[in-house]
């Protein structure tokens, strides 16, 4: 027995040693902070808000899901990119969604929400961030009222912006204004879609509510934060969308009038004006103080964009430097006016198909690199035998269309370096004043016809790029329909590559544009020293009317029975996408 007694004593000793050190397992992680401490100071809350701004999607930090590709304003040699693999063959479906430019491929910073501009789950993640911020800052007793009054409207603006992308792409979507919590809310987390109208109304009301809480102007330290003008401009833009054929099939003129009035409010602020120099809009050194820019995202060399290398001129100095992912199509080039202000389709325009780049508008020369253009000290020859000889069949990264993009390219950044580490500090522009003028003109023209204020607004935009007034160009006043064409053309040429075309072409339900084949310009030098210009079809396109609104991804529907049941919906989703197509 003695034996066992000792044995047991020894075991007890071992257990005793172990139990006295249970604190041994206490470890604190060093790469995160406790939730409780976040909402106790405005400093911490600001750090959270910094993260939401960081999750804004835009094309300067994403490589291939470009809106210009989707719409055929530009083409890309890489067949695997979504525009060529999904959009052009008419393949957008609940199983094959496209999500637009995002920050999924951001190099140089940690972005915890990637996803495209209207990527369903990414967008709701961004919206959740806003809801978390708004609720916690509101409820915090430690955060001063002055901070709440300053920052909550910013978060509500961002939330409205994120909702506007959902609504413009999908129609009605679930409206979620508080952070969902499955622990406390149970099945209520499964939100059905709001109707298209209700979704619009939510966004519109939010912007109305916050506009006056936001500052009218901001210092350089706050570039990227919304102002009153930003809220009013976004409001006018969603009202313009609401009035357009996609959401206004009966052409209710009051909707157009609402949009026009909303735009007028921005114009009447007296804060914004057109920059006399079109090219200055993309000059990183002056963007912060540019009077035309209403809402932008700030980039720096430490954390910048890299569009130049991925999308720029392919061959420079005889070697491949840029990846040529952004090559304007002949279809877009044909939309640029002549310097006399006429469209090339006008028999009196003076357009010469065998000398097509002569006497075009300054906007053309500022936006497009064509055969013989000089870019970063090198002349770009897309003609046969040239240093960037057109590659009609996607043999390489060299342009398939005969063009490269000049606009929005940071001219100070080397393309070769930009592919990886030479980041461009050029800001991304969400809204600028020229869009306010065009939006106003479009809405006013639809509501009341081509009244004087319509001419005035469009002419301001045209004058800045050296174009004659409409009346000068067209020899007097024009019809409402002609004015519509002119305004649509202004949108296309003034705002090409600015992520507006996807929204404009869809809200106009421009089926013909989306179904037209893509053309390139093949230029062949002749033995007599002249050049032969020939437009060549390089791709067929197919588009279905039901694609004007994006399908709700299949995965989203099966996760939410509250939405699945809506298949076919009470109003058959005439004003929003039927989720099951």
């Amino acid at each position: 027995m003695n034996t066992f007694k000792r044995l047991i004593e020894a075991v007890v000793l071992v257990v005793a040693v172990s139990s006295c050190s249970s604190n041994f397992l206490n470890v604190t992680p060093q790469n995160q902070i406790s939730s409780a401490s976040v909402w106790t100071s405005s400093q911490n809350a600001d750090l959270f808000l910094n993260g939401i701004y960081n999750d804004e999607p835009d094309f300067r930090s994403q490589g291939w899901d470009l809106i210009s590709h989707y719409t055929g304003y530009s083409y890309v040699g890489a067949e695997w990119m979504p525009a060529r693999q999904v959009v052009y063959p008419g393949g957008i479906s609940p199983e094959n969604t496209v999500n637009g430019p995002g920050n999924s491929n951001y190099i140089g910073g940690r972005d915890h929400i990637g996803g495209g501009m209207w990527d369903w789950s990414a967008e709701y993640s961004r919206i959740r961030e806003c809801n978390i911020f708004i609720q916690n800052v509101e409820q915090s007793t430690d955060i001063p009222q002055s901070y709440k009054e300053q920052r909550i409207p910013e978060a509500r603006f961002l939330r409205a912006l994120f909702y506007s992308w959902l609504w413009e792409n999908y129609g009605g979507v679930p409206i979620i204004k508080i952070p969902l919590d499955n622990q406390t809310q149970g099945n209520k987390i499964f939100r059905p879609r709001a109707t298209e109208k209700a979704t619009f109304q939510f966004i519109d009301d939010e912007l109305t509510a916050i506009a006056d809480s936001l500052p009218t102007t901001q210092g350089a330290a706050d570039v990227g934060r919304p102002t009153k003008g930003a809220a009013l401009t976004l409001k006018a833009w969603v009202e313009l969308n609401e009035a357009s054929p996609l959401f206004n099939p009966s052409n209710d003129k009051t909707l157009w009038q609402n949009a026009a009035d909303a735009y007028k409010k921005v114009m009447d602020m007296g804060v914004y004006s057109l920059d006399p120099n079109f090219n200055d809009l993309w000059d990183p050194s002056t963007q912060a103080s540019n009077p035309e820019l209403i809402f932008q995202r700030e980039y720096t060399t430490a954390k910048g964009g890299y569009a130049e290398g991925y999308r720029g001129v392919t061959m420079q100095g005889g070697v491949e430097t840029g990846w040529g992912n952004w090559t304007p199509t002949q279809n877009l080039v044909d939309k640029f006016d002549m310097s006399n202000g006429k469209m090339i389709s006008d028999p009196n325009s003076g357009y010469d198909p065998q000398n097509p780049y002569k006497n075009r508008s300054q906007r053309f020369y500022d936006s497009i690199i064509y055969n013989g253009s000089v870019w970063q000290g090198d002349t770009v020859w897309t003609q046969m035998g040239g240093n960037n000889q057109i590659d009609l069949g996607s043999q390489s990264d060299i342009t398939n269309t005969g063009y490269y993009t000049r606009k929005y390219m940071d001219k100070t950044v080397s393309e070769a370096a930009n592919v990886r580490n030479g980041k461009s500090p050029e800001n991304y522009i969400y809204f600028r004043y020229a869009g306010v003028l065009l939006g106003y003109a479009e809405a006013e023209n639809e509501a009341n016809g081509p009244v004087a204020s319509v001419y005035s607004a469009v002419d301001q935009v045209r004058a800045r790029v050296g174009l004659p007034t409409i009346e000068q160009a067209y020899g007097g006043s024009v019809t409402q329909s002609k004015m519509r064409d002119i305004i649509h053309n202004e949108w296309a040429t003034e705002f090409c590559f600015e992520d507006k075309s996807w929204y404009n072409l869809r809200r106009w339900k421009d089926l013909a544009w989306f179904n037209s084949p893509i053309y390139a310009m093949q230029i062949t030098p002749q033995s007599n020293g002249t050049k032969k210009y020939q437009q060549v079809k390089i791709a067929d396109r197919s588009w279905h009317a039901y694609q004007f609104l994006m399908p709700i991804p299949h995965g989203v529907l099966v996760q939410n029975s509250a939405m699945l049941k809506q298949n076919g919906g009470a109003d058959n989703w005439n004003n929003g996408q039927n989720p099951g197509y």
Partner: protein
């Protein structure tokens, strides 16, 4: 006095051997035949295994009462100087019964040693204690390390596959430094981390980089009773590695080394330039585009294929060009060992080794050097105190291009034959803004210097007041350092300009060099306190162990970065000092664990066996109050062959043991601190000219989060006939893993906006069968044959996982009830033919319409199996998905090791195979021009086209990028990846001892060996390894190694 002299002698003998070696080498170098003779009286002889008759190297032969002795050579021969013909010799070898033989004036004494196993004396390490093999009731296997010693593998994890039942290993990459195998014991039992625990010399450590020469044996613990002592770390099985210690005897010096060459097992064949251009034009035509290549270009490429060298028309083969032939590989080890036994029977043994391994990669800029060193001293400090000191370390220098192997292989697949890899003048080209040669050879470098030391001190004190009771303590300190330096430089590349006939230089990736440095150090501390009690009361045998164990590790890292270097000197100090060009980072973390282990073995007359074991275990992972769990297990056995009625009637039945075990084990899942509600820290948007800091919401916390729990059951038997001539073990196992962490995203809508907290709700079972059979026979003519076969079948089943309604409600798609990793997709039913379409291009009525755009003849047709209401609906939608393939991890693994020894020659062949595994073709293997890339020859020859409208073609019609329809996950792309390999082969020759003696070495063996010599995988039609880790084939290929080597025993 005699004793002291003896020791001196042995020392002198030791230095003498080295001196003799040096002299011998010198003489050989000068062409002089060394003339040396054994002095004084001596005894010689051969030691053989009593059962197999094979000679036994390394047996200790000691003169009784002295420390004078030798070890037998590789032929089992020994020669020992004696001081008196009346001395007595002691022959000892681990695992064998020691034999004491008086010399009685003889000069030749041949001895046969009997295995201890025959009498059940062989000890098996079982977690925290050891047990006689005969009495083990838990499911375990042992790897015969003699078989893995000479094999040319740079990573020891690759040596286990095929050699032991229950071990499933998949090697994902052949790249130096990254070529370890993923090991799963008894298949995969969890959807979480399924890696087994590896324990080296009693402490959780990796064995990947250990010098195989230092490994004494490897034990694989599988059943509950064996793994329960590891608590929350044991459920996936445990691999116990025990390193060698010295043997009593004169110092011995051993050299082991080989030199080998490596080549990929498979390299896919790609098209030539002309074929590429033709196919590209065909693809363009299929989408209404312009031809990519003109007639003139086609003719140019055709001429290039026929041998015309014109820089305008390259005909390159990127994959075969970038992969060099015969990449070298070598390993060299020197081992010094020996030991002394004092008069009072205390002893001290030592074992020290140095090793050097070099492995070159597929490109010369990819290589590793590894230096291993170990030292182990075991000493009886007093008659009751035993101490061991142990160091095992390695220092690894890895060298890579600044561009990763993945990116290089990506570019190797992308670069088509029409793009130059090298021009005739030696310049290199680029494709699509990247350069294969530039990336592999001119992008800068990454060097990793990793240093690891395993150090332990171990003290065992017998307690005099109770016989059989002892206390032990082990303290381990394992520091690890990793220093990484990455120097990225602008990548030069050249482009031929046919008009000027010049090669223009350009640069990719970076405009100026940049440097990143990263330093990481981890210190791991383990303390173990043991209490052991071993005693026999008559026929009752008891072996009890209790252990307290605590470990903690501290990790700290620090990194710095500078860009825009003006000087080409890769040092931080020589870089830019502009703030925007600098950055740094650093973080520290800790892990902690503690537990109390018990293990008790009891048997009655070695016939009725019982083991209880378990652990009370705690981890820092979980919330206070939820940190500790209890994992008990029990196993029992009946050694039928020890019953008198069996012994009498069936004397040939050496062992027949029925056994079973039941118990619980655990597994950590997810990550630490999931119980804490926290916000992450990251980078925010730019404001005021600089990036800001940001906080972001983490997935919500689950304060109740806990470990995975495994219920493990095992029944089996071990059998041995005719004194181990034929052995067999059979096990049936069942494991039910519950509390698996599942991420229930499917139960909240996407609009929820964030993931949910993980919950311990997943349940999965895994069952299977293991079989090992061994047969050995010594023939009259001297041929000795050993056959070892093993077979494992493991089949898991998901019992409870969160599953969306759309899959759960569709019997074809339901995950629950099926194997984890089962492939789902559409069932392909051939290719559309022209007759399936109306004249306007639409599908004829009655043919189901796919949901992703327009289809044409030559596209893949899918079966309409179901619809929203469970019935075919005329549409191909996700409702039509079904099971299309097996999991990637094989369900069946088997191996057959055949060894033959005939006189001086030995042959060892290991065949290894796997079945019930599928491979999904992706990337370039699936689609031509993938990522603007190349095309396989198989695709070129076997695709549907208007001129080859074969509805059963291997590939659909080509398009510049694979269409949405054809790229849907479907059975069209699933291949059976069953394979059989000649995994390893070795032919050895042992030098006759007469010759060895002339060279004054004890013995010498030379061999040729090979890894992955031959692979048979009939289900895979393309030239790709069946174990390919990437469905696109874009990975660093597994290597076939052929080597020559030698073992020299001085």
């Amino acid at each position: 006095m005699k004793n002291r002299y003896g020791r001196k002698d042995s020392l002198r003998g030791g230095t003498g051997v080295i001196l003799q070696l040096l002299v011998a080498l010198f003489c050989v170098a000068l062409g002089v035949h060394p003339l040396m003779a054994q002095e004084g009286p001596h005894v010689q002889g051969v030691v053989k295994d009593a059962t197999t008759g094979s000679t036994m190297p390394g047996v200790n032969v000691l003169i009784k009462g002295t420390t004078q002795g030798v070890a037998t050579d590789l032929n089992g021969k020994y020669t020992l100087s004696i001081s008196s013909p009346t001395d007595t010799l002691i022959f000892s070898y681990i695992g064998y019964q020691t034999k004491v033989v008086p010399i009685n004036g003889r000069s030749t004494i041949n001895i046969k040693l009997e295995s201890e196993a025959i009498k059940g004396q062989e000890m098996v390490v079982l977690g925290y204690n050891a047990e006689k093999k005969e009495n083990v009731t838990a499911a375990i296997s042992q790897v015969k390390t003699a078989q893995i010693a000479n094999k040319p593998v740079a990573n020891e994890t690759n040596n286990l596959v095929g050699r032991v039942a229950g071990v499933i290993a998949v090697q994902n990459s052949g790249e130096p430094g990254y070529n370890s195998s993923d090991i799963h014991i008894r298949g995969i039992s969890t959807i979480g981390n399924s890696n087994p625990l590896v324990v080296v010399d009693g402490v959780p450590r990796s064995f990947s980089e250990i010098n195989p020469e230092n490994i004494k044996f490897i034990t694989v613990l599988k059943g509950a009773a064996a793994v329960a002592p590891y608590g929350m770390a044991g459920a996936n099985g445990v691999i116990l590695v025990t390193t060698k210690s010295g043997l009593i005897g004169k110092p011995t010096l051993t050299y082991d080394g080989y030199f080998g060459i490596q080549n990929p097992t498979f390299v896919p064949k790609m098209v030539n330039a002309y074929q590429f251009a033709l196919l590209k034009n065909e693809a363009q035509a299929n989408v209404g585009g312009q031809p990519s290549y003109s007639q003139a270009e086609l003719q140019g490429f055709k001429a290039a294929v026929n041998g015309t060298v014109d820089p305008q028309y390259p005909n390159s083969d990127a994959l075969h060009t970038i992969i060099r032939n015969n990449a070298p590989m070598t390993r060299n080890s020197l081992i010094l060992s020996g030991g002394t036994k004092y008069k009072d029977s205390r002893k001290v043994v030592y074992y020290a080794s140095l090793g050097w391994t070099y492995q070159g990669g597929m490109w010369t800029t990819d290589n590793i050097h590894r230096y291993n060193a170990s030292l182990r001293i075991d000493a009886d400090v007093t008659k009751t105190t035993h101490a061991s000191l142990f160091f095992n370390g390695w220092n690894e220098q890895q060298h890579y291009p600044a561009t990763s192997a993945g990116t290089i292989m990506y570019q190797a697949y992308r670069t088509p034959a029409v793009s130059p890899v090298y021009y005739a003048n030696g310049d290199w080209g680029s494709w699509d803004g990247r350069s294969l040669v530039g990336y592999a050879y001119h992008s800068g470098f990454q060097t990793n210097k990793n240093r690891q030391v395993y150090s332990s001190i171990y003290i065992k004190q017998d307690l005099p007041f109770l016989p059989g009771l002892d206390v032990k303590a082990r303290i381990s300190y394992d520091p690890y350092d990793s220093f990484q330096k990455t120097w990225n430089t602008p990548v030069p590349t050249y482009k031929y300009d046919p008009t000027t006939k010049t090669y223009n230089e350009g640069f990719l990736l970076y405009s100026k060099p940049q440097l990143s440095q990263y330093y990481d150090r981890t210190n791991n501390y383990v303390f173990q306190g043991y209490l052991d009690y071993v005693h026999s009361f008559g026929k009752h045998n008891v072996n009890l162990t209790a252990v307290y164990e605590a470990d903690k590790s501290l990790d700290q890292n620090f990194g710095a970065f500078r860009q825009n270097y003006n000087l080409n000197i890769p040092e931080l100090n020589d870089g830019s000092s502009i703030p925007a060009d600098l950055s740094n980072n650093g973080l520290s973390s800790q892990t902690r664990r503690m537990g109390v282990v018990f293990q008790g073995n009891y048997n009655y007359a070695n016939t009725y066996l019982l083991t209880v074991s378990g652990r009370y275990d705690g981890s820092y992972y979980f919330a206070p109050g939820h940190r500790f769990g209890f994992f008990p297990a029990i196993s029992a056995g009946w050694n039928v062959a020890n019953e008198k009625f069996i012994v009498d009637r069936f004397p040939w039945l050496t062992t027949f043991k029925l056994r079973g075990s039941w118990g619980y084990s655990g597994n950590l899942a997810g990550s630490a601190f999931q119980y804490l509600s926290t916000y992450g820290i990251g980078q925010g948007a730019n404001f005021n000219g600089a990036p800001t800091q940001a906080l972001y919401e983490q997935n919500p916390a689950n304060p109740f989060i806990t470990w995975e729990k495994a219920l493990m059951e095992d029944v089996g038997f071990d059998m041995s006939l005719w004194s181990d001539k034929l052995t067999a073990s059979v096990d049936y196992f069942y494991q039910k893993r519950s509390n698996m962490l599942v991420n229930p995203t499917v139960t909240v809508p996407s609009s929820y906006g964030i993931g949910l907290n993980q919950v311990n709700a997943g349940v999965m079972s895994n069952h299977g069968l293991e079989l090992s059979v061994g047969y050995n026979k010594a023939f009259e003519n001297g041929l000795v044959m050993n056959l070892d076969g093993n077979f494992t079948w493991a089949h898991n089943k998901l019992i409870n996982i969160f599953e969306a309604n759309d899959t759960y409600n569709n019997p074809n798609r339901r995950r629950t009830g099926r194997q984890f990793g089962t492939m789902f997709g559409y069932k392909a039913i051939g290719l559309y033919t022209k007759s399936d379409f109306n004249p306007d291009g639409s599908l004829k009525s009655g043919i189901a319409t796919p949901a992703w755009g327009t289809v044409r003849p030559g596209d893949i047709m899918y079966a309409d199996l179901s619809g929203p209401n469970g019935k075919p609906d005329g549409k191909i939608t996700p409702d039509d998905r079904t099971v299309i393939g097996n999991p990637r991890t094989p369900g069946i693994n088997y191996g057959l090791d055949t060894q033959f020894q005939y006189k001086q020659f030995g042959l060892d062949l290991l065949f290894q195979g796997a079945a019930q595994t599928s491979f999904y073709m992706g990337g370039w293997i699936q689609s031509p021009f993938n990522a603007n890339g190349n095309v396989t020859l198989l695709q070129y020859n076997n695709h549907w086209s208007p001129s080859n409208p074969n509805p059963n073609a291997l590939f659909p019609r080509v398009s510049p990028a694979i269409t949405a329809n054809n790229s849907q996950g479907s059975s069209f792309w699933v291949k059976n990846a069953d394979y059989l390999r000649l995994k390893s082969a070795e032919l050895s020759f042992t030098m006759p001892s007469s010759l060895a003696h002339k060279l004054t070495i004890r013995s010498m063996q030379i061999y040729v060996a090979a890894q992955n010599l031959f692979t048979w995988s009939p289900g895979i039609p393309y030239n790709l390894d069946p174990e390919a880790s990437s469905s696109s084939g874009q990975y660093y290929f597994q290597q076939r190694v052929i080597s020559v080597g030698a073992n020299i025993h001085f």
